[in-house]
Amino acid sequence: MQSVNSIKSAYIKEMLNNGVRSGRGFMDYREISILTGIIPNAEGSAEVNLGSTKVLAGVKLDLDEPMPDKPNEGNLVISAELLPLASADYDTGPPSPEAIELARVVDRGIRAAGIIDTESLFIEEGKVWSVFVDIYIMNYDGNLFDASTLAAVSALKTTRMPKYEDNNVIREGKLGKLKTKGIVTSCTYAKIGKSIVLDPDGDEESVMETRLTIANDDTYIRAMQKGLSGSFTQHEIEELVDTTFEKSKSLRSIINKLSD
């Protein structure tokens, strides 16, 4: 495998050095499609296909106790699973550091942008709603950060709000929507040799030296994460922030068009 990888690595770098990326421009996304409401048993759900990367997000709301330091707020719990069926490189067992990093970066963007108003999840003293977002990676072909943020936000935006009546949770029938505000998306860049590309696919991620994810809404940067052992210059990062504000417009418009 190693020899195949080094050939592929050299080939991808050579192409990029010559200003060529297979099938698209350096700052282009692959084709994106989002389907919502695909798991009717869940309160919210979305499937995102970003090229061959396939991510499923499911949302459940449960009665819960508030955190001791925030007695008037509900909880938001975001987790991610790199399912072994998504790639030969993923193993069964407890979440890997990569899965935890993925969930935490998605979480930070959604939390910082205030997509969920946790105070609106308060029911009565000692009783709140917990919102569980589970991100399931079904097929890996790079850029799990952007696909997962799209899936989580799309699922939350189309989540129905269960009712709490006479000590019972009602999950079916005529229900309102979970209260959400705004849209956050992320743009992830890979640095390969001297080149920087948006939305790296699996092959590109296997040869990238470093990675940068920038999450934003229409006004603010909401979360950032640099990954791997390479580095960016300050100038590169400033440019990527500008690119992100430009590129995120079309991502937000995809989410805005979702029907529920």
Binding site: A42, S52, E81, P84, L85, S87, T92, M138
Partner: protein, 246 residues
């Protein structure tokens, strides 16, 4: 099998709650080759169940001591997404139930895979239930069989699985979630259709000897439909291509 308190009426006017006859399957849809990275995969909808199955291998058995110098080792993981049921958020990771289902599923495929062709290797079968409505182990086996066939791993047969059960006096096929919760018997079976051999059999509840025979006959009859849907799913991608060149 649940408690009999607050048991809902499961049969009204000779029909089941979802309108099915006693020997009627829920609608089944299978699509082969849906996950690009896997060596074989399938997506299955069986009533409201939605299941992905994927196969990786044969590949070097790791850790090495798990390998067998005479045949491939089959590994299986059945797991249910925490958002898959209409109830509370489940706990992630396999629980005792999932571990048992993984084991009996693995044993079904150990019977049919020609593992002697691939000594020292492992074949991984992953079953992810993303929406559940009763009968997921049978549906998972049915999907995994298609995923295995898609991967090209040689098999002696294409097994199918389905549950039979009993409500009151009536033997029924393919219990959904609410029937499963309140039924008087539940009996998932996997069958090798070419030989009729039973590859998986579990049961709890109460069945007379006659009811048991009736249930097995019902499973075999339903199996003809399930086998046909499996074979059609395997053919579909090739029919698409050959139609293109007609």
């Amino acid at each position: 099998m649940g408690s009999s308190t607050n048991k809902p009426e499961l049969i009204v006017n000779g029909k089941r709650l979802d309108g099915r006859a006693f020997d009627e399957l829920r609608p089944i849809k299978i699509e082969a080759g849906v996950l690009k990275n896997a060596d074989g995969s399938a997506y299955l909808e069986w009533g409201k169940n939605k299941i992905f199955a994927a196969v990786y291998g044969p590949k070097e058995a790791l850790p090495k001591h798990t390998g067998d110098p005479e045949k491939a080792v089959i590994k299986c993981r059945y797991s249910m997404a925490p958002f898959s049921s209409l109830e509370e958020h489940g706990r992630s990771g396999p629980n005792r139930r999932a571990i048992e289902i993984s084991k009996v599923t693995k044993e079904v495929f150990e019977n049919v895979i020609m593992s002697e062709n691939f000594p020292g290797t492992e074949i991984d079968i992953f079953i992810e239930v993303v929406q559940s409505d009763g009968g997921t182990r049978a549906a998972g086996i049915t999907a995994a069989a298609v995923a295995l066939a898609t991967s090209g791993i040689p098999m002696r047969d294409l097994p199918y699985a389905v549950s039979a059960g009993k409500i009151g006096e009536h033997v029924i096929i393919d219990l959904n979630k609410i029937e499963d919760n309140y039924s008087d018997a539940d009996m998932p079976m996997a069958i090798s259709p070419r030989t009729g051999n039973v590859l998986l059999l579990q049961m709890d509840g109460s069945l007379t000897r006659d009811e048991f025979k009736q249930a097995v006959e019902m499973v075999k009859k339903a199996g003809q439909t399930i086998s046909r849907i499996q074979r059609e799913a395997l053919k579909a991608p090739y029919e698409k291509i050959s139609n293109k060149y007609k």
